[in-house]
């Protein structure tokens, strides 16, 4: 049962939520809210942005300044919010299709710009809301409504993408590790710079049914059995890592942050007068 402090962050009047029973998104929302409560964030100074998809309905349930935008574009909206008012804590919640397909360009540029926003990417390997179509993170060989013979295109590794594009903080957990999610999201929010937390979750309804993990528990067990901490993974061979989910913190660097740099520019031009 969530704590009273967490419940205070919810717009509980909209419950029951639209997610399927057993969906992982609730676990992620709870972890984000625990992180916000622990960090002592204020609801009126916290912006939660999202795009389109199941994951993107999350802001509707959070009693903060919430911004439900267009498919894939939420980071660009969030960038405008953050640059306009740097005092705000800005969190962007995305799905895998939202983040890496239609929003891929915005994602890599938010990483490159290193703007102080936290992106929580809920990766369930599928387009859930629209009925189970393949996404850029659907594994090769997996089935989807638009991959009835199995996926043949190679998936993105969201964390490698974020690290390569220049994010300050990159971490991955799964919904079988809710305390890790909370820890990483907390670190991500506290990080001055663009921070990405990929949370591997499941869509038993759309992905699981076609891929031999039809019940929520099948997925949680799958994540538990196949997750490997990053430190251990560095000692394993490529063959040993086949089919494993590497979790942990991949990047935690102190890099120049975009808004801070812009504020310095304003200062140097006397624009604060």
């Amino acid at each position: 049962m969530p704590s009273q402090e967490v419940l205070d962050w919810l717009r509980a009047r909209f419950f029951p939520h639209i997610w399927c029973p057993g969906c992982g998104h609730g676990i992620i929302m709870h972890a984000i809210l625990r992180a916000l409560v622990d960090l002592g964030k204020k609801k009126e100074e916290t912006v939660i942005a999202s795009g389109i998809g199941c994951s993107s309905r999350m802001p509707g349930y959070i009693d903060a300044c919430t911004l439900h935008t267009t498919h894939g574009r939420s980071l660009a909206f969030a960038t405008g919010v953050k640059l306009a008012n740097p005092k705000l804590t800005v969190i962007d919640v995305m799905g895998d299709g939202d983040c890496t397909a239609i929003g891929g360009n915005h994602f890599i540029h938010a990483c490159r710009r290193n703007i102080d926003i936290t992106a929580v990417v809920m990766n369930n390997n599928i387009y859930g809301m629209t009925g189970g179509q393949a996404s850029p993170t659907t594994p090769v060989g997996a089935y989807a409504t638009t991959a009835p013979y199995g996926v043949i295109d190679v998936p993105f590794d969201i964390c490698k993408l974020a690290a390569g594009a220049g994010a300050s903080y990159v971490a991955r957990a799964t919904v079988a590790h809710p305390l890790l999610i909370e820890k990483y999201v907390k670190t991500a929010i506290s990080k001055k710079g663009f921070a990405v937390v990929e949370v591997v979750t499941h869509c038993h309804t759309q992905f699981g049914r076609k891929n031999k993990r039809p019940r929520p528990i099948d997925n949680i067990n799958f994540f538990k059995e196949n997750s490997v901490m990053y430190n251990k993974a560095t000692t394993m061979s490529k063959e040993e890592l086949e089919g494993k989910i590497v979790i942990g913190e991949f990047v935690n660097a102190d890099l120049p942050e975009y808004v801070e740099q812009y504020m310095k520019l304003i200062e140097s031009l006397g624009g604060n007068r």
């Binding site: 909209f14 609801k43 009126e44 100074e45 912006v47 942005a49 802001p59 509707g60 009693d63 903060a64 300044c65 919430t66 911004l67 439900h68 935008t69 267009t70 574009r73 660009a76 909206f77 969030a78 960038t79 405008g80 919010v81 953050k82 640059l83 306009a84 008012n85 005092k87 705000l88 360009n105 915005h106 890599i108 540029h109 812009y262 520019l265 304003i266 031009l269 006397g270 624009g271 604060n272 007068r273």
Partner: protein
């Protein structure tokens, strides 16, 4: 003291926006509008504002909407291909009622078309480009002076009506240089969006004031918590499937502009009182059209001139009032016949309507429009 400058239209748009209080610009390079972004990049940080070059046209309008939600007056500028890309988020700004200004410096199309050459082919896109019902407000400048003044007006309308305003320039007006008298700050009206007077816990973000159908707008960070979505929503901003609530929302979106159209509509006339022909022209074409009308007058032809400054809402009543005693209405424009459709609707058989299009990337010469007048006369 007002300053006299020798500016190009795009510079005047940027400087007018700054004078109106624009403090955020999100942009992406595109000819023939890039000078607006360049001017904003130079000027905004000097006044504590923000300029950001985004990764694409879609992102630049998205950032602008985000900044407006955080309380800033915000603008983006583009041309045809970019305007096409912006249509998705333009729709979100209509739906979520976010004041922004979008500049489209028109070039020839379709597609990449003519990056450095003029057209007026985006007139209907400015009206109906994004999907779904909405009421567009579109301003078309014809001079550098007007670029400055209408940029201020565009912000005033966006702030007043809580919606996007399209500033529809064209390559000729954007790139030509001429004298402009820059008014002193404080000598023109600057409007700001209505802020809520209620306490945060009582704030209903989409509850309109009955006198104008427009809900007061809080800013993220101002102490108010509210939800913004592109989904059709109720007065609290949350998605709805209730047919009554849906209809109320969409009808209000349209009504909030329509009921004030008399205050929005701008137009200009010349020698219309005794005219038996009227030339309707807008943007850069209106300049050569006016020359041609003057020429025709000097030759004894009773020709008048009508220039819509607001293309949308179109000054329909105002044009209609002039056409009862004329035999012909002439519409020269840099497309294959777009605004002429609106003129035909307005004239509604009271006079004959003649269209003259030009789509070769050039501007009409006054002599071409004069010939057009003579042909019809």
């Amino acid at each position: 003291m007002p300053k006299v400058q020798f500016w190009q239209g795009n510079t005047a748009v940027a400087m007018g926006a700054l004078a109106a209080g624009c403090r955020f610009f999100g942009g992406y390079p595109i000819t023939p509008s890039s000078e607006i972004a360049e001017t904003m990049a130079l000027e905004l940080p000097k006044v504590g504002g923000r300029f950001i070059q985004m990764e694409d046209e879609i992102a630049s309008i998205a950032a602008v909407i985000g900044a407006s939600l955080a309380g800033y007056k915000a603008m983006t500028a583009t041309s045809g291909p970019g305007f096409s890309l912006k249509q998705e988020n333009l729709g979100l700004a209509y739906m979520a009622e976010v004041p922004i200004v979008v500049v489209n410096v028109m070039r020839g199309g379709p597609s990449t078309g003519l990056p450095t050459k003029v057209s007026q082919q985006d007139v209907m896109q400015a009206r109906w480009g994004t999907h779904g019902d909405h009421e567009a407000i579109t301003l078309a400048p014809a001079s550098v002076q007007e670029c400055y003044e209408l940029a201020i007006e565009a912000f005033n309308l966006a702030e007043r009506f809580r919606q996007p305003v399209i500033f529809l320039g064209d390559e000729v007006v954007g790139h030509m240089r001429e004298k402009i008298i820059v008014p002193d700050d404080g000598t023109f009206t600057v409007l700001n969006r209505k802020r809520p007077k209620t306490r945060p816990e009582e704030y209903v973000p989409y509850k309109p004031d009955p006198e104008d159908d427009i809900p007061p707008m809080a800013a993220f960070g101002d102490g108010y918590r509210w939800h913004v979505t592109g989904l059709t929503h109720d007065e609290w901003g949350f998605p709805t499937n209730d047919p009554e609530v849906i209809e109320r929302k969409i009808l209000r979106l349209v009504r909030k502009v329509r009921r004030f159209r008399d205050e929005i509509v701008r137009y200009e006339t010349y020698e219309v009182s005794d005219a038996d022909m009227i030339v309707v022209a807008y943007g850069s074409v209106s300049r050569t059209a006016l020359s041609a009308v003057r020429e025709a007058r000097s030759k004894g032809l009773k020709v008048g001139f009508f220039r819509p400054v607001t293309l949308w809402p179109f000054p329909d009543k105002e044009l209609q009032a002039l056409v009862n005693n004329v035999k012909a209405v002439l519409v020269p424009e840099l497309n294959c016949g777009q605004m002429v459709l609106e003129v035909e609707r307005v004239v509604s058989g009271r006079a004959k309507v003649f269209a003259k299009g030009l789509v070769n990337g050039e501007l009409f010469r006054p002599s071409e429009i004069f010939e057009f007048i003579k042909e019809v006369a």
